[in-house]
Symmetry: C2
């Protein structure tokens, strides 16, 4: 009794190998064959459970799925599905609920998610259309995602490493303090206080500005630190100190800080969901505050151009094991990613359509903005 389900659980815990066809539903691959009837029953159970939130019994399956057999037959099939690890019962004499593997199978079998319906597409277009700049656009994207799915939305700004600097500016804020401004061609602005050496004159600053303008503007962001180091070495001695201060300020601004740009929305939906216990809730919220981890997780989940689904235990991060993640890459000069986070019991079909549609429209509006 305890052993037979082992191979299946094993498969579930190793999603990466078959990652490419995971969300496409094209190749059933190593998954055990299921006859048509089992597939329909599983689908009925998932759909019903997602909709009602209660374990679904053989009787309800018969009512819902229009296969012309009796409840007893369905029971036999359900017993087999349980043996295969796709469904389980919370306790004896309760209906069945899908396991993570069951959801996985269900998602894989989704032929391909239908287009999002018109009204929703329009809503997205409307909300994204009035964005004033890229940052605003991403914030709105996050907002529209969480509104449409009623789940937690995540949007990660594209890394600026591969973009180019449009403007490098050094503003004097107060004696001894400057503000280094770096503007990338995505419209992203980073800033960093610079401690200027004592005795730096306004004329010195002007010369530094000129040097920066000539040698740094237009360079790829990830090349800038090296360029700055060279500039420091070659600089006339009176500018060296200032340039060194600039270089040491620019490094971190362009490296780490830059990665953590994450927009999160709809956190309240987590608290409203009965599926999460107090402890899970707390951990998930903590995770949502750790922007760096979040960015990594999301980036890892968005290799392909299709939406990717990570269900429960498929997530590598411990605290995410009680939840599912649906994420997709988008392109805005370089790659960014967006997605939603919610209970494993979510409406995958609709969520997939929504994530896909939002990503598409985001790209459209981005090109609108940058032209």
């Amino acid at each position: 009794m305890p052993e037979p389900s082992e191979p299946v659980r094993l498969r579930v815990e190793l999603p990466p190998p078959s990652a490419s066809d995971e969300s496409s539903g094209a190749g059933p691959g190593a998954a055990p064959e299921l006859d048509e009837r089992k597939v329909r029953i599983l689908r009925a159970i998932v759909t019903e459970y997602v909709a009602r939130g209660e374990p679904v019994g053989s009787k309800r399956v018969v009512e819902v799925s229009e296969l012309g057999v009796s409840a007893a037959t369905v029971r036999n099939e359900m017993s087999a599905l349980e043996e295969l690890g796709y469904i389980t019962q919370p306790h004896t004499s309760a209906g069945r609920i899908p396991t993570d593997a069951g959801y996985r199978r269900f998602v894989d079998d989704l032929a391909d998610d239908p287009e999002l319906d018109g009204p929703r597409r329009e809503l997205i277009a409307e909300l994204l259309g009035s964005a004033s700049d890229v940052e605003d656009l991403l914030a709105r994207t996050s907002s529209v995602l969480s509104q449409l799915t009623r789940l937690v939305s995540l949007v990660i700004a594209p890394a600026i490493a591969a973009s180019r600097l449009r403007l490098v500016e050094l503003v004097s804020l107060a004696p001894g303090t400057g503000l280094l401004l770096l503007v990338a061609d995505t419209g992203r602005v980073d800033k960093r206080l610079v401690e200027l050496p004592a005795g730096t004159s306004e004329a010195d600053l002007d010369r530094v500005r000129t040097v920066l303008g000539e040698h740094v503007r237009g360079r790829r962001v990830d090349a800038v630190p090296a360029v700055l180091r060279t500039l420091v070495e070659e600089a006339p001695s009176e500018l060296r100190e200032v340039l060194a201060a600039v270089a040491s300020a620019a490094g971190p601004a362009l490296a780490e800080d830059t990665v953590h740009h994450v927009f999160v929305g709809g956190q309240a939906s987590l608290a409203g969901d009965e599926a999460f216990e107090r402890q899970h809730l707390s951990r998930l919220l903590r995770l949502l505050e750790e922007r760096a981890t979040l960015a990594r997780v999301l980036a890892d989940s968005t290799a392909a151009d299709e939406p990717t689904v990570r269900i429960g235990h498929e997530n590598e991060v411990e605290d995410l094991r009680s939840a599912s993640l649906v994420a997709q890459r988008y392109r805005l000069i370089t790659d960014g990613s967006l997605g939603v986070l919610g209970p494993t019991r979510m409406d995958y079909a609709t969520v997939l359509s929504t994530v896909r549609a939002v990503a598409e429209q985001l790209e459209h509006h981005v090109t609108d903005l940058s032209r």
Copy 2:
């Protein structure tokens, strides 16, 4: 039985009139006199309940508070305190817990909060010390607040209306699109995409830059929109369109956007707290996402230079009625505010000390940064 407590509840719901001495503890004012023993008993109940989380009975009060009387006497006093509305019992034959009014009284009677202990002060100094710019400083402030109190921290950046513009820059991102950069002397940077009229040349942009540099740089932020309008009117016709685009972009960037800069930290602590039910939790999280409301609430609660406490029903915002807010104003060129949000059952003495200490040190480090 139901009526006698009415007048007290009324007082609680009208904190504003006596707002000035609310948190000072200087004037008992209209509050009913309490003899020394009642005060000590109330204090014992609040302290014990905050520490243990369980209703406290007469026996425990005797053990904890070293007044040399019997439990029976304490019971009589407690009965009186209940009559006055300061404490209540969750059910018959349970111990007492403080009401919002009880907490209020307790807070008012706190002579004045002691200095925060050394180690904690040092921790604050250490964490704030390594801030790289003002925005970073405020983020760190939020982080340290939530770490020390294990509550939700809130930090609102000072409004930039009264600060001056250090730099106005118009960057050309792509043909037809510019990015307007506004840097205030607080180090705050706002940006906004500008749709440039077709056929705008680089030379035009240069001229616009010059005009902006001459007339806008150094002006108070709230004066800028008016200045821009004048510039548009007086501009040579070939620049008028560009300037108009800039003016229409600058307005909103300087107005609304600016107010919503709120740093929130430690939200996970809400979920861990048993005091909040699912529904409250969800509402509080939603509130934390509405940055505008949040900013208003916090600004309203920080009139004086002392920390202000809003306990449960004293909060005007419905969703906050299940929580307490401890907030204080800080000055960084203009006013900002910071504070924490948690269950009414919080350690007010420690929280008050912490909020005060953090606000103080924030101001120190700010002057460090801007000198």
